[in-house]
């Protein structure tokens, strides 16, 4: 492309004159000679990298736009930890698209990072409030790795001598995969099963248990019993949870759990094909010094002004090194900040209203489908409705696809549908109609299984 628009000329801060000046000062003829003097000869490459030629900014954007168009945006009702959300435009433009927020470095230099630190402590407070714990960190990489980190935290701080860890089978499959994979090299034995097993445990069976609330299938279950019995045998309980649901539900803290983890994605952070999003971890005061990741705390400056800064830096892994138990360093600050601002933008009452509206959408959907004779897997849910679709599973899924909607095949006999902030009444109607059309096609009368008929949900 025409070189007046060469991006490299803009990206590189030194002009050719500057470069010549510096080379001269250092006593070299040109950049090549200089580079050869810096690098060992035996590793210096001979050939140019085989990359395509430089493109101008406009050209590259055009090509990438074409590539992006190969993605097709369907309406997603998949859920499974990732939900449609509305990024408030004021946050979009002034945080997400603002170099003042996105370029900056980890706020190690507290004196020049008060805004960023305050935004992160806002995130921590929000997470703490919703999960019912005293303390939360300034983000982890994603929900699944947060779960894995919480397992090792429980291992570390718990009193049990057990090397076994229990995972609720109703956790998201990706969470189960990541936690299981993480357990293996460090010799933790993982059991995946129904949490009901936990109510009757021998001594020190599990050092910890990971329960999901609401579950993978959307069910909302009170785990108080399981927690009591886990505690009784010296185990800790971790709950993987959903911040939006928690505006309406009893919090993990209230329920007696020891740690809560999850993702804050649905607080205004786009799906983005999986990331980046900020995961969170919250726990009790007494474990604060063992929490992985960064933690923003309040202190004072020399004149006694309130001053935020990264707390417990001496604890950071570059100091602990081989004694470290987590390697997390770069986390998800920008996304945590966005999620925290989303909460501040809506305020507690606004968040609750969003949650209520999501729940009533799910209720409406459940009711509509249930009345057509489909049974629900659980009648107590927040945003996700799981339906016994049995032999029709594949057909329903495909029909929805034809209408540019993604439902979720939970397993061969179940479809899950997740509602979120962006779901419209029209869409609920469309989904219901899809089930209706199918059920009409089915000959014979509806099988109404009374036991599982739709009834009051939380």
């Amino acid at each position: 492309m025409e070189n007046f628009d060469s991006f490299a000329l803009r990206h590189i801060g030194l002009s050719q004159t500057d470069i010549d000046l510096l080379l001269d000062q250092l006593g070299y003829k040109d950049l090549e000679e200089f580079s050869k003097s810096v690098l060992p000869k035996n590793i210096f490459i001979k050939e140019k990298l085989g990359l395509s030629d430089a493109m101008s900014e406009e050209e590259a954007l055009k090509v990438l736009k074409e590539i992006s168009k190969e993605n097709v945006v369907y309406r997603s009702f998949i859920g499974q930890g990732y939900y449609g959300t509305v990024t408030p435009k004021v946050i979009l433009r002034n945080v997400f698209e603002n170099p003042g927020w996105y370029t900056s470095y980890t706020p190690y230099q507290a004196e020049i990072s008060q805004g960023r630190l305050e935004a992160l402590i806002n995130f921590q407070t929000m997470v703490g409030d919703l999960t019912g714990f005293e303390i939360a960190n300034a983000s982890l990489l994603d929900e699944a790795t947060a779960a894995a980190e919480s397992m090792t935290l429980a291992h570390r701080v718990g009193k049990s001598k057990s090397q076994r860890f229990f995972i609720d089978q109703n956790c998201f499959p990706q969470t189960i995969s990541v936690v299981t994979a993480r357990a293996k090299p460090i010799g933790i034995e993982v059991m995946v099963g129904d949490p009901k097993q936990l109510t009757d445990l021998k001594e020190e069976t599990y050092f910890g248990a990971l329960l999901q609330y609401p579950g993978n299938d959307g069910a909302v279950i009170d785990f108080s019993q399981e927690i009591v019995s886990m505690h009784a045998q010296n185990g800790l309980v971790i709950m993987a949870t959903d911040l939006l649901a928690l505006t309406l539900l009893k919090s993990p803290g209230e329920m007696g759990a020891d740690i809560a983890i999850g993702s804050s994605q649905r607080f205004g952070v786009p799906l983005g094909f999986g990331g980046p999003h900020a995961a969170f971890m919250a726990t009790k005061e007494k474990y604060k010094r063992s929490l992985p990741g960064r933690l923003v705390g309040a202190s004072i400056d020399e004149d006694g002004r309130t001053a935020y800064r990264l707390a417990l830096q001496t604890r950071e892994q570059h100091i602990r090194r081989e004694k470290a138990t987590s390697n997390i360093c770069t986390a998800q600050a920008l996304l945590a900040i966005m999620a925290g601002f989303y909460a501040a933008y809506h305020g507690p009452a606004g968040l609750k209203q969003i949650a209520q509206s999501v729940r009533s959408k799910a209720t409406a959907l459940a009711k509509g489908i249930n009345e057509l004779g489909y049974d629900l897997k659980s009648s107590s849910f927040f945003d996700t409705v799981t339906i016994h679709t049995e032999s029709e599973t594949q057909e329903i899924f495909s029909t929805a696809q034809d209408q540019l909607m993604n439902l979720r095949i939970l397993d061969a006999n179940h479809i899950s549908i997740s509602m979120d902030e962006t779901t419209t009444d029209q869409e609920i109607e469309n989904i219901t109609k899809l089930f209706k059309d199918l059920s009409k096609k089915r000959k014979g009368c509806f099988k109404l299984r009374a036991a599982n008929r739709y009834h009051k949900i939380i």
Partner: protein, 457 residues
């Protein structure tokens, strides 16, 4: 300028950032059916090819969400390789003392045992110590983790020897790619002896730091290790021999990959190479200009450094009590972010300019450092004690400088305008030096409650 050694603060050009907001990238569910995500596949494949050409590795995984996760994934790949060869006993991981803290931590998580390797006086890996440890653990040797150019900011000339020693003992070489920005276009870790590297796309490839994330820490591996890259989390079955997933979605933080793609596409091969050369040139310029005033801790071949330069504050501390922190905070008064502090060597500052800084900015930084050195001299002289100095009292916030009872031995203008700003805006820190010890003793990690605000007003 944010001259952070090792942490590489690249320019984040707007054209790189814009595609992240496109609905076709931002509004795709990670588990959307395959045929809806063809655009992502093209982007990912192309980026993998690009990174592979740049690093010399034959396969890339974009799954890791950060450098640390990349390290972990890389070590798991090495471990799986050994296991697949029946060498389950290979669990020893050699790590030089100067390594980044995430290296030993990752090794730990991967179930390896860390054996430290010492450095010689020039800061290079002590080849003798290395050979000895490698022989000693020959049968259990899993890997070495080195950083290249080293965390000391030097292209160690012995790097190929190091690799050879490890390979000879059946181990694999993990090259931490956090410093890849000093290699792009000049050398390839996958060619000169590395078996795995993670790259920090949030350093070398322009993904912004975001105040501490997001990041992307892909790994590149040689052919042998390619079968052992992280698995798709939705396809992983626990009893399998595969390395499991390291993150919740197959392509980690996919939506920010366009940033790095755009950067590479717009720079082209020659732009990338030139960027590397200019970054190294600027670092050497700074080193040369600062060397009469500060001790440059390590240099390599021809007395040159790589893309960053460590200056040693310990001798000055001994002389007059000045701390690394004092310099870091004093730089704020000049309008600079501090360089990396006390990494990899306690009591030092590590300066990395990157290729995007203008000459004027480099000179401004050098001027500030020399001015600070002069202030240190004044402490040595006894003009004031360290406690009385503008160094210890930095940063100077406006309220303090303006307060009616100024009692410092130096003037207000020395405090706030130590050099002529030549019309540039003065940056004012909102607060003075933070008391970290107080905060850690009285740990308070949530916002003050509403009632606290009420009390105040």
């Amino acid at each position: 300028m944010i001259p952070l050694g090792s942490c590489t603060m690249k320019l984040n050009a707007t054209s790189e950032m814009i595609p992240v907001g496109w609905e076709e990238f931002s509004n795709i569910h990670p588990y959307a059916p395959y045929d809806q995500t063809a655009g992502y596949k093209i982007l990912i494949n192309d980026l993998e090819v690009k990174l592979s050409k740049i690093t010399g590795y034959s396969a890339i995984s974009l799954q890791p969400n950060a450098g640390s996760q990349g390290e972990y994934a890389g070590l798991l790949a090495i471990d799986a390789f050994h296991r697949s060869n029946g060498d389950q006993q290979r669990k020893i991981c050699l790590i030089p003392e100067s390594a980044h803290g995430t290296n030993p931590a990752s090794a730990q998580m991967a179930g390896m045992k860390v054996v430290p390797i010492s450095c010689d006086k020039k800061g290079n890996i002590d080849l003798e110590d290395l050979s000895e440890k490698a022989s000693q653990h020959s049968n259990e040797l899993a890997a070495i983790m080195i950083t290249y150019p080293s965390t000391h900011g030097v292209f160690e000339t012995t790097v190929t020897d190091v690799c050879k020693i490890i390979h000879d003992h059946g181990g694999k070489v993990y090259i931490d790619g956090a410093n890849l920005n000093a290699m792009v276009g000049l050398c390839k870790p996958g060619e000169f002896g590395g078996d795995v590297s993670h790259l920090n796309l949030h350093k070398t490839f322009c993904i912004p730091h975001g105040g501490g994330g997001p990041g992307v820490g892909p790994i590149g591996v040689v052919k042998d290790l390619a079968p052992h890259l992280p698995s798709d989390p939705l396809k992983y079955e626990p009893p399998s021999k595969n390395v499991g997933p390291v993150s919740a979605t197959n392509f980690g933080s996919a939506s920010i990959l366009p940033i790095s793609w755009m950067y590479i596409q717009m720079m082209g091969a020659s732009g990338l190479r030139k960027a590397t050369q200019v970054a190294i040139l600027s670092a050497n310029y700074i080193a040369q200009k600062l060397s009469p005033h500060f001790k440059i801790l390590y240099t390599g071949k021809n007395g040159l450094i790589a893309h960053e330069c460590i200056i040693d504050i310990r001798p000055l501390k001994e002389l007059c009590g000045v701390e690394v922190d004092d310099i870091a905070k004093r730089l704020i008064d000049f309008g600079f972010h501090a360089p990396t502090m006390s990494f990899p060597v306690p009591g030092t500052l590590m300066i990395e300019p990157t290729e995007s800084e203008s000459l004027a900015e480099l000179d401004r930084f050098i001027e500030a450092m020399i001015c600070i050195r002069h202030e240190i001299t004044q402490v040595e002289d006894g003009t004031y004690s360290i406690e009385e100095s503008p160094l210890r009292n930095a940063p100077h916030c406006a309220e303090k400088v303006i307060s009616d009872d100024w009692q410092q031995k130096y003037s207000r203008s020395v405090a706030a305008y130590p050099v002529d700003l030549k019309g540039r805006n003065k940056y004012w820190p909102p607060i003075g030096r933070v008391d970290n010890v107080y905060g850690d003793k009285n740990l308070m990690c949530s916002c003050p409650s509403m009632s606290d605000y009420q009390e105040e007003s």
